[in-house]
């Protein structure tokens, strides 16, 4: 009973936060993954003010105001610039915004846990022999009241009407004379306020640290999924259910440790139920779609040029880098090469099938673990255990891809993100069963220099594997699936087989990357595979350029070399996270094809100029004299 009641209080906060996500998503089409971080910022500001002034109303008011301001600033100035991108990229952009906030918060306030105290904290009342604090009751009352107010706002006011119109069709609403941006700003303000209030309430009844609050977004998302990101009553139901189940699971030691997987389970069951009963998930595919690669006409000369350049670069790296680089940088370069394989797995799924998988890092963990176990357990050569790791991750990748047979776009991304979250929790709870064991490097490459060369060769092989797929039957089948599933079916493509094959290939690459990473540092640490990394991996793959073959290489550098560079320069790790987020946003906004797309475009322009140079040289003197 006490756990039930504490569950209701937590559930009410999930509901509040979930309503914020759904209101914003319906009105503006943005799934705000920074919701938790925005709330955390409000709570931290409130904590500081309370510490300084002691005035509760001032502190709470300022805290909520901060959340609103931050949310509106993003919604007004950054979100509209991304309206051309597809739903997942827009969601990922909010996440990089979340990273900025998280990095700044950790930098300013530190990672130590706090609690936001209230004067009523010590008080409570007895109810069925159970002591309930007023704080929990207050949370429940406040959260429920605000949820009702927001629902009334949506159903009864003119603003609510406009928001519902936007949810139906943004372009049409704009043509009818609704000020879309104004309504957007209101939606961001409401979502900011709800985020702030739920952040404050959670900080009061649970604890206040930026990480915990930022990841409040997971149960919140799950509640939103139960409501299909549309229905507020169902979102309320979902949030309350998750809160209560979490509360009920607390007293049972065996389940308790895994109770943070409850949001995932509830959302998964809800989605399955919707699928079974043929209830369409909201029309999220309507706006924006994954972009296509810019077309570079293929000429024999260009192909030859690229091949030569690639071979020369490979030879250069292979021979000279290990000689030139100091050992710290050599290990970093090795990691960058390995992570470009991981990025390749993400980029392949995104560019070939238009699917966003946010659990590739969990597959890295699978590959690393299986390789380690087999390598140590049987003593077979590294290559064999590496292949086993890859195959195991391929199987897991196909399993994780099963939801992708039925759903696309944002829903698939969220489901995979939840898989990643669940895997992270399981790894954290059972203790990663490889810690303390040392994975020997392959016999032919035990030194750092040799291992770098080894990884470089494996990277090239992996890129070759994907290239072969793209050139052949699977690549063509994937392209037709991307065009439309009915088109693929009509020409005889077995959707299930080809999609699963793509997921398996992605898993295989991720598994290889995980195994090499483990061998690079010698051991496997569960903490190196958090769910957040999978999102960074996707975000940086987009920034690097998922549609160009060298995009994943750039992503690999961004993922490992840039952070190393910053920490080498003595930049605080948390600040580095924030800087990273700051760098990520403009790239997502200005370069939909990523850095590789920019580079390839620039090279093409250069070549055109070069080809038409006779004309240019005639004109040049005139230009300079004028």
């Amino acid at each position: 009973m006490p756990f039930f009641i504490s569950g209701i209080a937590t559930g009410a906060i999930y509901v509040l936060s979930g309503v914020g996500i759904v209101v914003l998503y319906r009105a503006s089409g943005v799934l705000n993954l920074a919701q938790g971080a925005v709330g955390a910022l409000g709570a931290l500001v409130a904590w500081s003010l309370l510490d300084a002034s002691g005035s509760v109303p001032l502190a709470w008011g300022t805290g909520i105001a901060t959340s609103i301001v931050v949310s509106v600033l993003y919604g007004r100035f950054i979100a509209p610039k991304l309206s051309h991108a597809d739903a997942v990229v827009r969601a990922v952009a909010t996440l990089s915004f979340g990273f900025i906030l998280l990095g700044l918060m950790d930098f300013v306030w530190g990672e130590r846990g706090r609690r936001l105290a209230l004067p009523i904290d010590g008080l409570g009342l007895d109810f069925f022999d159970v002591r309930i604090t007023y704080a929990r009751i207050a949370s429940f009352v406040i959260a429920s009241a605000i949820t009702i107010v927001v629902m009334l706002l949506l159903s009864r006011t003119r603003l609510g009407l406009h928001m519902r119109a936007l949810a139906d069709d943004r372009r049409l609403s704009g043509m009818l004379g609704i000020r879309v941006l104004n309504v957007d700003v209101w939606a961001w303000a409401i979502s900011g306020a709800l985020a702030g209030i739920s952040g404050l309430l959670i900080a009061n009844i649970d604890r206040l640290d930026p990480q915990t609050l930022t990841f409040l977004v997971i149960p919140t998302l799950a509640a939103g999924m139960v409501g299909r990101l549309r229905s507020l009553p169902l979102t309320v139901f979902g949030g309350a259910l998750i809160g209560i189940l979490e509360g009920l699971a607390t007293p049972f030691a065996e389940i308790s440790a895994f109770r943070t997987t409850i949001p995932f389970i509830v959302a998964a069951i809800a989605l399955l139920w919707y699928q079974r009963h043929g209830i369409a998930l909201s029309r999220i595919e309507r706006e924006g779609s994954t972009p296509f690669a810019p077309h570079v006409p293929r000429t024999r000369r260009r192909t030859a040029l690229i091949a030569t350049a690639a071979c020369a670069a490979f030879a250069l790296f292979f021979i000279f880098l290990p000689i030139v680089l100091p050992s710290y940088w050599l290990v970093t370069a090795t990691s960058a090469a390995i992570l470009s394989i991981a990025s390749l797995s993400v980029a392949m799924l995104y560019s070939q099938l238009g699917l966003v998988s946010l659990c590739q890092y969990s597959l890295l963990a699978v590959g690393g673990w299986v390789t380690l176990r087999i390598g140590i357990g049987t003593g077979v050569p590294f290559e064999i255990s590496l292949l086993c790791g890859g195959v195991a991750a391929a199987v897991c990748g196909a399993l994780a891809g099963l939801p992708g047979l039925r759903m696309r776009g944002l829903y698939f991304a969220i489901v995979t993100l939840m898989i990643a979250g669940a895997v992270q929790i399981v790894i954290g709870t059972i203790g990663f069963p490889g810690e303390g064991l040392v994975l020997p490097r392959p016999e032919i490459a035990t030194s750092d220099a040799d291992f770098f060369r080894y990884c470089l060769v494996v990277t090239v092989l992996c890129f070759g594997l994907v290239w072969l797929h793209r050139r052949a039957k699977p690549g063509r089948a994937w392209a037709t699936i991307r065009t439309s599933e009915s088109c693929a079916l009509a020409i005889g493509v077995n959707l299930t087989a080809y999609k699963l094959w793509a997921f398996a290939l992605g898993g295989f690459l991720a598994g290889i990357a995980g195994a090499l990473l483990a061998a690079n540092v010698g051991e496997l640490d569960g903490r190196t595979f958090p769910a957040g990394q999978s999102i960074s991996l996707f975000a940086l793959s987009v920034v690097g350029g998922a549609f160009n073959w060298f995009g994943p290489l750039i992503a690999g550098l961004l993922l490992r070399a840039v952070p190393s560079f910053l920490s080498d320069r003595g930049v605080d790790g948390n600040l580095a996270t924030a800087i990273f987020g700051v760098a990520l946003l403009p790239t997502l906004i200005t370069a939909p094809q990523g850095i590789a797309g920019q580079v390839s475009g620039a090279l093409l322009a250069l070549e055109r100029r070069f080809e038409s140079s006779p004309v240019r040289t005639e004109r040049a003197p005139k230009g300079t004299s004028a």
Binding site: H295, R298, R476, T483, S486, A490, G492, N494
Partner: protein
Amino acid sequence: MIAIDALNVMFGGVTSLDELTVSLPEGVTGIVGPNGAGKTTLLNVFSGFVVPTSGDVTVDGASILRIPPYRRAARGIRRTFQTEQIAENLSIYQNVASAADHVPLRVAHAAAIGAALAFVGLDAGLDRRAGELSLFERRLLEIARAIVGDPKVVMLDEPGAGLAESESARLRSIVGRLPELGAQVLLVDHDVDFIAATCTATLVLDFGMRIGYGATKAVLDDPRVRAAYLGTLDGAPA
């Protein structure tokens, strides 16, 4: 020979095809009718995108309804779409290859693709990206994709929509030659001239029911068909 027997399709409470029974022996058969008459639904039953409530469809005596949708292409049931659906980031050649990958071929892969492309008259610049093609070229490419290999039933869903006069004429000649490949053509189009020029027989649907079938000219001149499809002049008796 295509035979449709007592075919019913219901979406919720809406009847889209109503006890449709007809045998289609001709090389090129037109399917006409006002919007919502069930033309595209009928094609979708052939493709397996729509599962009929009852009834049967046979091609050369064998029922096709139990074949999984993705295997129907290999059984010779091919189509184009109302809004053309070519894979924009594949080349012309690769688009046809993507279909050739999944159907039985009597000649080599490349030869079959070349033959299909030559048939529709796309034989230059085959490594051009399909995304750069004009609407007409896209339609031709889609037809090439639907005929590579051994087609038995080729369904064309409004292939002539949005084309210029000269393009339409070329399309007519291509459609007229399709039976040479051993395929039966089902042509859905709103352009009555197009239908009259290419189809030997025509099936007219309205509200999911067959309101006419026979030689194209006779069917199109039938006053009942004219009333349903073309509407009646103001004040004139139906």
